[in-house]
């Protein structure tokens, strides 16, 4: 089955959710380096968390039957730290993840997710742990994420979430794919180039 990847405005996401618990989960764990030996991202979905999954022998959240088809991941603190490899969010996205909620995210990982149209939202430790407990208690409940109200809800309980204004605007307007915006005004790029001393023989009077 061909997967649909995020495109355009991202205002709501609905689906099953599961948790990956633990602080400082780095991108080497999300996708071990040996899987970076590729010239296309296409095979990465199956390799997400490969070593952790092997260790748990079928009992890792990414292997459990009731998590098949889930698209919302709830994590803890400093998720995605370490390497800048976009292979990490690519692997999560290709497995099926479309939204990540956690206590905090490493900066490059956050940006890499945004570039793929995967929102990363935060909430306090207390809220996240409560959310994780709820998610684990009933594995079949559907969660609704709403960008406008910055919240996720299972009908009974609603959790408010945090997201920077810039990121919010990009997701709301569908302009999270930066390339076209960056090419909007090429003359301004050229002007910046022409004003940089080190690209203009160090003429300081420019």
């Amino acid at each position: 089955m061909k997967q649909e990847f995020p495109k355009g405005e991202i205002k709501s996401i609905q689906g099953l959710s599961f948790t990956i618990r633990g602080d400082d989960i780095d991108t080497d764990r999300i996708i071990p380096a040996r899987f970076l030996k590729c010239v296309s991202f296409s095979a990465l979905g199956e390799q997400v968390f490969a070593d952790d999954r092997k260790e748990l022998n079928g009992n890792h959240p990414f292997d459990l039957d009731h998590n098949k088809g889930a698209n919302i991941l709830i994590v803890n603190d400093n998720f995605g730290c370490g390497s800048s490899r976009e292979h990490a969010p690519q692997a999560l996205m290709r497995w099926g993840i479309r939204l990540i909620i956690g206590e905090s995210f490493a900066e490059i990982f956050f940006g890499n997710c945004l570039a793929l149209g995967i929102p990363c939202l935060t909430a306090s430790k207390e809220k996240i742990v409560k959310l994780q407990n709820l998610v684990e208690k009933n594995k079949h409940q559907i969660w609704n994420f709403n960008l406008k109200s910055l919240s996720i809800s299972n009908q009974k309980e609603t959790f408010k979430l945090n997201l920077g204004e810039g990121t919010y605007n990009m997701l709301y307007s569908g302009k999270w794919d930066a390339t076209s915006q960056l090419l909007d005004e090429e003359e301004k790029i050229n002007k910046t180039f022409n004003n940089l001393p080190y690209l203009n023989n160090f003429k300081l009077d420019i």
């Binding site: 080497d28 905090s104 793929l116 301004k188 023989n201």
Partner: protein, 469 residues
């Protein structure tokens, strides 16, 4: 909000415009690419029918996947060969300068670019590698990016960025004998934590920083990202200018003087405002080593493994995980811990002075029985200069292997890997679970001189024991 810092000044020079979402379009003065994070960026460019806007502002090399024992083409690993061929073709098609296998300038991207004089003060430097922060040592704003952003830089020579806050880390005093830049940065990360730098650029300043060589400064900035700071920098000074002068891509003749005067003007003002300031005493730092599974889990060589129960609450769980994974017990000394493998190299500590300092420890000794020890120079230039100084001979005579340049066992994308639960003394930058190529392999991060001492004794050793006579 910061003002008058180098970060502010360089940022202002490179602002293209404000983007609708509120971020800034930032011009990138130097874009470095390698074989791992660029192929999909070129594919995406082709799909969008876009070209490379300024091909002469992107420079390529190959480092992550290169074998270090035999670099004969084609590589024995077909996937590694395919990645290299893809990069070669992309560079050829788009007119990008490529420092490939067989060239005397190939090397780890963060080692070779400074050596060629490509990295200069006042630049913005981006590369699809988190250790791009290294180039901040020259007074540049340098940061790692993902593959989608590599595509954006190729297409537009710019990125959508949010301005970071600036934290000044002021280090007083001077490092003691046997204490190196690596110990200092491991100490800083231990103090501020692995996510303490999220949202910040780190300015490293103060007497202990000023006394460091450019290579030491690169070690410091290289690991800013391990403290969560996407970029770290040091204000340019005479040490910086001396390093750059005469390098292949350095300004020459009249341009040199103009360049130096511009570079000087970029240093943070004496009255600059920082978002946060921290002060440390460099003279009290001891040789530092990580015991756990994050670069923030460091202790001095004389300390014992922490008892997780006695740590702050938010550090307890990861400390418990680390004790279990590393098979270490609380209150056990780190000094004297047996090791299996010794690795000297990487973009953190694979430069000439790193090899030189380690060779001083090794000279006249032999690698302990049963220990596998190897040196991987950071670049062809490092390898050549080391050979000219006879450094390779010192290591070989002691029983180390001397390899060809590359990233090697820092992340084990090539054949250099730990096996099973082997434990390594490593001069690299990450001790994450499975980082060095075995799912249960273990890593102790330390300075290259400490790795050398560990290789000789077969166990974690205080390098100062070798420096007393």
């Amino acid at each position: 909000m910061s003002s008058g810092t180098l970060y502010d000044k360089v940022w202002n020079f490179h602002q293209v415009k404000e983007l609708p979402g509120g971020s800034t379009q930032l011009f990138i003065g130097l874009h470095l690419i390698h074989e791992v994070t660029s192929p999909q960026a070129f594919s995406a460019l082709n799909e969008k029918n876009l070209g490379v806007k300024f091909p002469n502002l992107t420079v390529a090399t190959v480092d992550h996947i290169v074998p270090t024992s035999n670099q004969q083409r084609p590589f024995s690993d077909p996937l590694a060969e395919e990645m290299l061929v893809t990069l070669e073709n992309n560079c050829k098609i788009h007119g990008i300068k490529f420092h490939g296998i067989g060239s005397d300038s190939q090397g780890i991207v963060h080692v070779m670019a400074p050596e060629l004089g490509l990295t200069q003060p006042g630049m913005t430097v981006a590369c699809g590698d988190s250790h791009t922060s290294t180039h901040g040592a020259f007074g540049a704003i340098a940061f790692g990016i993902g593959t989608s952003q590599v595509r954006d830089v190729l297409a537009s020579q710019s990125l959508a960025m949010n301005k970071l806050k600036v934290r000044r880390i002021w280090v007083d005093g001077a490092l003691q004998k046997g204490v190196y830049a690596k110990d200092l940065i491991l100490h800083i990360i231990r103090q501020l934590g692995v996510k303490g730098g999220v949202g910040f650029a780190y300015e490293f300043a103060g007497p202990a920083i000023e006394k460091l060589s450019m290579e030491g400064r690169m070690t410091i900035c290289n690991m800013a990202i391990e403290g969560g700071a996407r970029c770290g920098y040091i204000n340019p000074d005479e040490t910086t200018f001396r390093y750059i002068q005469g390098k292949e891509n350095a300004p020459k003749g009249q341009e040199w003087d103009k360049a130096v005067s511009w570079w000087k003007s970029l240093a943070s003002d004496s009255k600059a405002t920082f978002d946060d300031e921290i002060q440390l005493d460099g003279s009290s730092i001891e040789p530092t080593i990580t015991w756990g599974i994050t670069p923030g889990q460091g202790i001095s060589i004389k300390e014992t493994i922490p008892n997780p129960e006695l740590l702050p609450k938010n550090e307890q769980q990861i400390a418990k995980d680390a004790c279990k994974y590393m098979n270490l017990k609380p209150d056990e000394p780190i000094e004297g811990k047996s090791i299996d493998v010794c690795f000297i190299g990487s973009c953190t500590n694979g430069r000439l002075s790193d090899l030189q300092e380690a060779s001083k420890i090794v000279k006249g000794h032999s690698v302990a029985t049963g220990i596998r020890a190897f040196v991987v120079p950071g670049s062809q230039k490092v390898a050549k200069e080391a050979k000219e100084k006879g450094i390779d001979k010192i290591f070989l005579k002691a029983g180390f292997e001397w390899r060809e340049p590359g990233c090697s066992m820092c992340l084990a994308m090539n054949p250099d890997k730990l096996e099973g639960s082997q434990i390594s003394a490593s001069s690299s930058n990450r001790n994450f679970k499975g980082r060095q190529g075995s799912a249960n392999g273990r890593t102790l991060l330390m300075s290259p001189a400490m790795v050398a001492a560990a290789a000789i004794n077969g166990k974690v050793t205080d390098v100062r024991n070798f420096l007393q006579h």
